[in-house]
Structure formats: structure tokens, C-alpha cells
């Protein structure tokens, strides 16, 4: 871990990378739905006002405007909170972006519980599942600032649509420099032989810390950062599962439909092993400080350590 760097939010990386794309490519345009300060698309708006379109509080219209801009040869980056991007505008994303395979990049911030005090209406815990269900949609959840930056830059060349989830809170740096790209989207950050921990987003840093603690208890955990949840790198997932024989998935999302399901699907078809899914257990969130929420909903390093130990013991 690049411990010397001060933690930064992944949404800030989106804002900065979008600015770079704007400078490099005149056909890059951006849209927002009255949240440009929060999603960080405001950086682009200030630099390229002619290429920025605020839809106001009208997410459905924004997504379809993005589709129209893509049909017109532009590369649109459309931002709002994850809960509105995927829920409010699902039908628009489905019919006018996913089905016609248009190169719209839906870059949603404020994924998961760590939205915090705003409470369950604004905490997106279904977005990964909703977007994963759509044919043609690539689903990306980067783990830190640098990986997010790489994901945004790399997305310019994607032929089809992408859903990118960023977060509100500052997260530790895991990559010292901006990587070349996401590669196959399954990055083994620590090799291990006893259990595989597949994590995404803010849970990757926690998985690495859990692995360190588990080492002291003689459990050798492998930590895999799954930044591309769809299409998932099934070979790497199955390879890790066959090596360790058991796995934990960790995500700031419902245990239904997200990373846990994506890994379980690979396991069921290619390498059936026991999987413990750490996530939000089919319930809605609530108001509170992000750290309190992660504790209450059992998404902490201690929860990861306990689950790994329980799984080891019970076998």
C-alpha cells in the first residue's frame, strides 16, 4: 500500500481524469443532473462549458441526451449519484444506451453506504446488480484514486457502454502510480493459499489489512481486487478458487446481484467451493457516519477476519 499518500476519494479522480480527457479529445462531452459539485464533473464544466450539459434534476432526460450525443459521434460522460443513475433512469439506460451499445460512460458517484448521513434514499446498494443485468454493459468499481483515474482514461477507447462506480469518502492509495489500465480487472494484490478474498471498491483496502491480521493467525489469504465486475475475469477467479478452496467476497453493495454473485456464478460453474459473502444483507441502509455504518452493517476489517477464521474452523 502506498501509505505515504494522503487518502483521496475516487470521485475526485473521476473529476481530474475527465478534465484530462477533455483536453485530449474534443469529442468528449459531459453531462450531470445538478450534482456536478459532488460528482466532480464540475471540473470539466468549468474548463469546457460548451461541451458540458446540465440536465437539471432530470436524470432520465440526461441519460437519453447522453445517448443522443453518442449517436452524434460524441463520447459522453454522464454523472449523478449511483442511486439515480441506475434506479431513476434504468429504463433509459436499458433502451437507449445498453441495447444499442452506445459509448456512453455512466460515471456515478456516491455508491454504497458511505454516503453516510443522507441515509438509505441516497445509499446505492443495488446499482452494481442493476447494471450487471444489462447486456453489453461493462461494470467497473475501482479501488482507489489512481485506479479510478486509469479506469476513466482507459474508458475513452471502449466501443460500448460502461458503468463506473465511485465513492464519496477518502480511501487509501493502493496503487502508488496511475496504472496503465485495469487489465483484465482481476488484480491479485497479495498471493495466498488458504482463502481467497475477492473485494471491490473501498473493501479492497480492508481486505489487504485483514490479510495482514490473518497472517498472524496462520491463515494465508489471497487478496484479489476485482475492478471489472462485468465481464468478470473468470479464469483468474477460478484459478484462485482452485488454489485456495474457499473464498470471501467483500463489497459495499447488497449481497444480491453484485460482486458476491458474480464470483459465486464462476464458482458454481467452474470450481465449486464454499463462499462467504460480505455485503449488505438484503436490507436498506440508514443515516449515520460512514464508519459507524460500515460497523453496523458488518463491513469492517474485523468482520473479514472473523469470517475467514470461522470458515477455516468449520471445515
Amino acid at each position: 500500500m502506498a501509505a505515504e499518500l494522503k487518502p483521496r476519494a475516487t470521485r475526485e479522480a473521476y473529476g481530474e481524469a475527465l478534465l484530462e480527457l477533455g483536453a485530449r479529445h474534443p469529442e468528449v462531452v459531459a453531462l450531470d443532473a445538478d450534482l456536478s459539485g459532488s460528482t466532480k464533473s464540475g471540473n470539466f464544466a468549468a474548463a469546457y462549458p460548451q461541451r458540458f450539459f446540465n440536465a437539471g434534476v432530470a436524470e432520465a432526460n440526461m441519460m437519453n441526451m447522453a445517448a443522443g450525443l453518442a449517436i452524434g459521434g460524441k463520447i459522453p460522460y454522464a454523472s449523478t449519484f449511483a442511486v439515480f443513475a441506475t434506479g431513476r433512469a434504468f429504463d433509459q439506460v436499458r433502451q437507449s444506451i445498453a441495447q444499442p451499445r452506445l459509448p456512453v460512460r455512466i460515471c456515478a458517484s456516491h455508491g454504497g453506504l458511505t454516503v453516510g448521513e443522507d441515509g438509505c434514499t441516497h445509499q446505492s446498494i443495488e446499482d452494481i446488480g442493476l447494471m450487471r443485468m444489462l447486456p453489453n454493459m461493462r461494470v467497473v468499481v475501482p479501488a482507489d484514486f489512481n485506479q479510478t483515474y486509469a479506469a476513466v482514461i482507459e474508458s475513452y477507447n471502449l466501443p460500448g457502454p460502461m458503468y463506473l462506480r465511485t465513492g464519496r469518502p477518502n480511501v487509501p492509495f493502493l496503487y502508488e502510480q496511475v496504472p496503465e489500465g485495469l487489465g483484465n480487472g482481476c488484480d491479485i494484490l497479495k498471493e495466498g493459499s488458504d482463502i481467497s478474498i475477492f473485494a471491490c471498491g473501498i473493501m479492497v483496502a480492508k481486505a489487504l489489512e485483514a490479510a495482514r491480521r490473518l497472517e498472524k493467525r496462520d491463515i494465508d489469504a489471497e487478496v484479489v481486487n476485482v475492478s471489472i465486475i462485468k465481464p468478470i475475469d473468470a479464469d483468474t477467479v477460478a484459478g484462485s478458487l482452485s488454489k485456495t478452496g474457499r473464498a470471501i467476497t467483500a463489497e459495499e453493495h447488497s449481497i444480491i446481484g453484485g460482486l458476491g454473485d458474480a464470483v459465486a456464478e464462476v464458482a458454481a460453474e467452474q470450481c465449486p467451493v464454499r463462499i462467504g459473502r460480505l455485503g449488505i444483507k438484503d436490507t436498506f441502509g440508514k443515516s449515520g457516519h460512514p464508519d459507524q455504518l460500515l460497523e453496523e452493517f458488518h463491513l469492517t476489517v474485523a468482520d473479514l477476519v472473523n469470517l475467514a477464521q470461522d470458515m477455516q474452523k468449520s471445515e
Binding site: 461541451r51 432520465a60 437519453n64 449517436i71 452524434g72 437507449s96
Partner: protein
């Protein structure tokens, strides 16, 4: 076409037939040999269930063979139940779920403005479709962005699946609503070819977005379909289709075609 498919939407296709014919055979600058010609005007069918009228116009324009039409909705045919921009030449956007076409048109109009393209976007919507809230999000945005390259045509046939629009969910007064949203608004008889062509051409010079409220008759030209909600989404049987085609190829239609000189 709809009879051969065994399903489809004849009512709204017929109410819009004069509008679509006026566009493809008189108003639109387009090139069937080069469907993606950047300088073209774009026709957007927001009420995607009226695909038959679009397909007929595209085929007669030369975008694909007329013989394809009888294979509408069949498993190996490019003519989907609702338009698919990647399957059928000349189809500009995929539509079907209502209320999205005007918003997509705004995005296209913005892209054309950024690229200084000369074309205009003509978007056909239904009055029932205008019950979708997104239509009014789009109406707000089009005037906000002062889009002077966009014409919306509302095929106001007064009917929808469950009955008369005024009974199901009253959407009127449509002209006043579009005007209040900042559009240049025109009300015409949408089954009068002279008025249709004139309104479409005049809309090109509007200072902002232009809305044409076209008062039409659902099922126009087929006596047993006219003003009958039952023909929204039902295919005529062979005998019924024969009668419909006989009525449609009668004097009245031929006269109005001659008026626009096509």
C-alpha cells in the same frame, strides 16, 4: 405488412402516415444510398410502436427492399417489432419504451450544433406518449438549450390503448403546454397534406425548438379503424386488410398526394 406479421400497431401508424410521407418524400434532406450522410435531416420515431409507417417510408425511399416489409416481426428479418438502429438501415435511434425519443433528439441536436452540421431533427411523438414525465423534462431542456434545429411533431390522434386520451389521462391543452415550455407552437390538421408540409417547412426557420401539434384521426383512411382504440395494437385479418388497402388507395389519398406534387 401488419397482417402478414399477425401483430403490430396499425392505428397510430395510419394517423401518422401523412406526416411520415410528407417528411420522407418532400421535406427531409436525406440520401437512402448513404443513410449516415452527415448533412442529412434526421427523423426520430419516438413512438416506436408505429414502426410499420417508418418501415414503409424507408422501404419506399430505397433504404431496403420493399419485399422485406412482409417479413415484419419475423425471426430472421431486420424489421423488429420496434425500431432497432443497428438492424434496419435508415433507423436513427432504437425506440419502443415511450417518452425517450425527444430526449435522445436533444442530445443529437446538441451534437449537430457542436459540429456545425446543417441538418434538422424531426421527432414524431404520440399524444398518449406525452403522458410520460420525461417528455416534459425534454421539453424544458430543448428550450433551455435554444435548439433551433429541432422540430417535434405530436401525432394527436386522441386515442390510446385504454380509450380516449381525454378519459384515460387528459394531456390537453398540448399547444398551450408546449408554448409554456418555451416552444414555437403550431396546430394543424395532421391529415391534410398541404398543412403538414407547410408546417414542417416553416418549422425550419423557428427561433427555438418548434412543436407541431398535428390533430389526426387514429386509423385514418380505414373506415372500421378510424377513431377506434381497439385498432391500436391489433393486426387486421386477411379480408380486413384487403378492405383497408382498397380504401387507402382510393381517391382522397391520391388527391392529397398530387397537391404536394410528389
Amino acid at each position: 405488412m401488419v397482417t402478414a406479421a399477425g401483430s403490430g400497431h396499425p392505428g397510430g401508424s395510419l394517423s401518422a402516415a401523412d406526416i411520415v410521407a410528407a417528411l420522407y418524400f418532400q421535406v427531409l434532406q436525406h440520401n437512402p444510398a448513404d443513410p449516415k450522410w452527415p448533412g442529412r435531416d434526421r427523423f426520430i420515431l419516438s413512438k416506436g410502436h408505429c414502426a410499420p409507417v417508418l418501415y414503409a417510408a424507408l422501404a419506399r425511399s430505397g433504404y431496403f427492399p420493399v419485399k422485406d416489409l412482409v417479413n415484419l416481426r419475423q425471426i430472421d428479418c431486420h424489421l423488429q417489432g420496434h425500431p432497432d438502429m443497428h438492424k434496419t438501415p435508415g433507423v436513427e435511434i432504437s425506440s419502443g419504451s415511450l417518452g425517450q425519443g425527444l430526449s435522445v433528439s436533444i442530445g443529437m441536436a446538441l451534437a449537430m450544433r457542436l459540429d456545425n452540421l446543417p441538418g434538422r431533427i424531426f421527432t414524431l411523438m404520440g399524444d398518449g406518449e406525452s403522458q410520460e414525465g420525461e417528455v416534459w423534462e425534454a421539453a424544458m431542456a430543448a428550450s433551455h438549450y435554444k435548439l433551433n434545429n429541432l422540430t417535434a411533431i405530436i401525432d394527436a390522434n386522441g386515442l390510446q390503448i385504454d380509450g380516449f386520451t381525454c378519459d384515460v389521462m387528459n394531456i390537453e391543452p398540448l399547444p398551450e403546454k408546449f408554448a409554456a415550455f418555451g416552444w414555437n407552437t403550431l396546430v394543424i390538421d395532421g391529415n391534410n397534406m398541404e398543412q403538414v408540409v407547410d408546417a414542417l417547412e416553416r418549422s425550419r426557420t423557428a427561433a427555438g425548438p418548434a412543436a407541431i401539434i398535428a390533430r389526426t384521426v387514429k386509423g385514418k383512411g380505414v373506415s372500421y379503424m378510424e377513431n377506434n382504440a381497439g385498432w391500436h395494437g391489433k393486426a387486421p385479418k386477411a379480408g380486413e386488410a384487403e378492405q383497408a388497402l382498397a380504401e387507402l388507395t382510393g381517391e382522397e389519398i391520391r388527391e392529397s398526394r398530387e397537391k404536394v406534387g410528389s
